[in-house]
């Protein structure tokens, strides 16, 4: 039971306990990256197909072509943002205990950034002559 003896007003007690107001941004960014992913995924599949059976020098030549590298970087960025948002929804739906949920959401962010950073590093190294 809430005590009336507190000096705090009812408004002060509930402040900060509502939503973070980031839901619409989350939803919209998920859709925008989904649209970008449709285009970039098809391009990525095309690049992978072009690489099948290629020896190392030919594979590097293709991956370091400016157009290919830029499209790969865009794909990595869009896919990592999209998968982070999607996995966050899954975590929030299935992990209910507060502390494990926060840990999982943070771990999800770390995962997306590590995968993205490693992939971007690799593409840039190939592009700028590693």
């Amino acid at each position: 039971m809430l005590s009336n003896s507190s000096m705090r007003t009812p408004l002060a007690r509930v402040r900060g306990l509502g939503s973070a107001k980031s839901g619409t941004g989350h939803f919209w960014l998920q859709r925008v990256t989904a649209l970008a992913n449709v285009i970039l995924t098809l391009i990525f599949v095309g690049i992978v197909i072009a690489l099948v059976g290629k020896p190392y020098p030919a594979a590097v030549a293709l991956l370091s072509h400016p157009l290919v590298a830029i499209l790969m970087l865009l794909f990595i960025l869009s896919a990592c943002i999209h998968m982070r948002l999607g996995m966050q929804v899954i975590i929030e739906d299935y992990v209910h205990a507060e502390f494990p949920k926060i840990l999982a959401v943070i771990g999800n962010t770390f995962f997306a950034i590590v995968v993205g950073a490693a992939s971007v590093y690799a593409v840039l190294k190939l592009s700028f002559g590693g």
Partner: protein, 106 residues
């Protein structure tokens, strides 16, 4: 189908480790790249690649249904069932087509 979208999404999520590893191998030099290519070309490697490509296409086609719903269409049971069946058939056909193209070109 909603759970299929989550299952394929999670599979794609975890599979990005393999894509990142493959790119890093390419950036590391010929020896690492050849090892990565050998793993990808093995039976198990190709099986994972096939399942990954199917998950990718299925998730993409399934995602297009979400765009239809976001635009306010396709909520009646009949349309939902049709879209669900359509997405399975289209994604399976597209995946097979991609593999045929890849195997012909190599």
């Amino acid at each position: 189908m909603s759970i299929a979208h989550r299952v394929t999404g999670t599979g794609l999520y975890l599979g990005t480790i393999l894509i990142a590893a493959w790119l890093v191998a390419a950036a590391s030099g010929p020896a690492a790249f050849d090892t990565a290519q050998a793993i990808a070309g093995s039976f198990l490697g190709r099986l994972v690649l096939f399942l990954y490509s199917f998950s990718l296409i299925h998730h993409m086609v399934g995602g297009l249904r979400h765009f239809v719903w976001d635009l306010g269409h396709g909520y009646d049971p009949q349309t939902r069932m049709n879209m669900a069946k359509f997405s399975v058939v289209v994604s399976a056909a597209l995946t097979v087509l991609i593999w045929i193209v890849a195997l012909v070109l190599r």
